[in-house]
């Protein structure tokens, strides 16, 4: 379970205090699939960082009783002058996993072939994303954090990702942040909408989208 209790996040900007999250309460149970909706700049990424425990809240408490992944398919932490394999080694070392057992899987899944031994800076964005997704699957977590839809590669590759995540890991929790209403509708049983610092929770997609459209109506 992950529990957010009265969590607020305030950033100090040159024009004063910006309250990004205002007394947010939320519980994510083991196996639960939670979608997060919100416009650009509404605070989705801030919420992701707080849930991931990589940034402390300004006030309130976050309690984890399950492990949570880094934002899935996130390639930002790649060192681009190093090879795909070097980056895999690095992640494995951080999480205390023997990388030698994982090379076969990553090679197979990412379909990078000999490019696995080339610097990441020579990759296309699709190749980077494929590597990032494959590496994300190497470390096991109780809860996976998905920031923006994993729209990686072609149709077949997407189906492979889909299978890895939602079928092989159906027992895990997911937190999905996305603009794609169909993706959230298909996978989530609980949906949170962030607007003006507040988080409203819904257990049905239609109600969530109704609220999302209401609060984001142009005046």
């Amino acid at each position: 379970m992950i529990k957010l209790i009265d969590v607020s996040k305030v950033y100090h900007t040159s024009t004063g205090r910006a309250v990004v999250l205002d007394h947010v309460n939320m519980t994510i149970e083991r196996g639960e699939k939670v979608g997060i909706l919100g416009r650009n700049g509404a605070g989705k990424s801030t919420l992701v960082r707080l849930l991931g425990g990589v940034e402390p809240p300004t006030s309130g408490d976050i309690r984890w009783s399950m492990s949570i992944s880094w934002p899935l398919a996130f390639g930002g932490a790649f060192q681009s002058s190093l090879t795909g394999l070097d980056n895999l080694r690095f992640i494995c070392r951080i999480y205390g996993v023997d990388y030698r057992d994982k090379i076969g899987y990553v090679d197979d899944f990412s379909e990078l072939g000999r490019y696995l031994h080339e610097p990441v800076k020579t990759y296309s964005s699709g190749m980077r994303a494929r590597l990032a997704f494959a590496i994300s699957m190497v470390i096991e977590f109780d809860c996976f954090l998905i920031d923006e839809v994993v729209a990686v590669g072609d149709q077949r590759f997407q189906e492979k990702c889909q299978y890895e995540l939602f079928e092989k890991r159906a027992d895990r929790s997911f937190i999905i942040v996305s603009h794609d209403s169909n993706y959230i509708r298909d996978h989530c049983t609980k949906i949170g909408v962030i607007a003006d610092g507040y988080l409203s929770l819904f257990d049905n997609a239609d109600a969530a989208y109704q609220h999302y459209n209401d609060v984001n109506q142009p005046n």
Binding site: V54, D61, W64, L82, I94
Partner: protein, 271 residues
């Protein structure tokens, strides 16, 4: 913040586990940093100590050629070797830690990676480079009959360790402060150049006028360098030092660095 699943064990067990994680993370960062900086081409990670070696070698040759006066009867090569190696030890660590977080901020998405680990990995890497360069050059110079081996290795280890501690705490303090203000980097560049001739690398304190002695005695690296030279040359030199002062200075600087670390850790956003 409370982390329930890590709370399940006893205090000692928890400490041991987080130490194990930190060791792993620092090792991973170290390998990543070394590979990124030196690559796999030509001599690869050997650059780690070949790079500082070429510095020391260059300075040694320069001082030998110009017959630089240093106020003692020591062979100039041995003098340059002990002096310049010491400079590299305390000067490179801060250089690598200033603005070290921004290019690595995205690593913080991996929860095990903390800011202190990024600093420690860089500090250890620089320490390893400067130390191995010093040792290898000593052996090479000895092999070429340019200098004798040190008289008291233990004293050198003590002096070298204190100097490394000074470098590390300075690196932590300047590294964290540089996240808060751009000025730190701008001051460090001229500052480190100006400190070099005052750091004891190019003189023995006993040969200097009293006023100068009293002024540079505030600098901890002067005491360390003097002590390292006493270890190296023993009775052939008169060293002036106060190691207690160095320890106190280092403790204060370390505490300053750690206090800044706490502030910066709350400010940095993984990007």
């Amino acid at each position: 913040m409370i982390i329930l699943y890590e709370r399940a064990s006893t205090g000692l067990g928890r400490l041991m586990r987080s130490l194990a994680i930190q060791k792993r993370v620092i090792y991973a960062l170290l390998m990543r940093e070394a590979l990124t900086r030196y690559g796999r081409h030509n001599i690869g990670v050997f650059w780690l100590f070949v790079e500082p070696m070429t510095f020391t070698l260059g300075v040694t040759l320069l001082w030998t050629a110009t017959g630089a006066s240093h106020g003692s009867q020591l062979p100039i090569a041995a003098f340059a070797l002990t002096g310049y190696s010491s400079v590299l030890l305390w000067r490179n660590m801060p250089g690598r830690c200033i603005h070290a977080i921004e290019p690595n901020a995205s690593l913080l998405y991996h929860r095990n990676v903390r800011i202190i680990d990024i600093y420690l990995a860089r500090i250890i890497l620089e320490g390893m480079g400067a130390t191995s360069s010093f040792v290898v050059l000593t052996l090479i110079f000895h092999f070429l009959n340019v200098i004798d081996l040190p008289e008291d290795v233990f004293k050198i280890i003590i002096g070298w360790s204190l100097l490394a501690w000074f470098g590390a705490s300075l690196a932590l303090a300047l590294g964290t402060l540089s996240e808060r203000s751009e000025i730190v980097e701008k001051i460090w560049h001229p500052g480190s150049y100006l400190l070099f001739p005052l750091s004891g690398a190019a003189f023995m304190l006993s040969a200097m006028p009293a006023d100068f002695q009293n002024a540079v005695k505030w600098l901890p690296m002067v005491h360390c360098t003097e002590y390292i030279r006493e270890g190296y040359f023993g009775s052939k030199v008169t060293s002036i030092y106060d190691l207690q002062y160095v320890v106190i200075f280092n403790v204060v600087l370390t505490l300053l660095g750690l206090s800044q670390l706490k502030i910066v850790a709350n400010r940095v956003t993984p990007g």
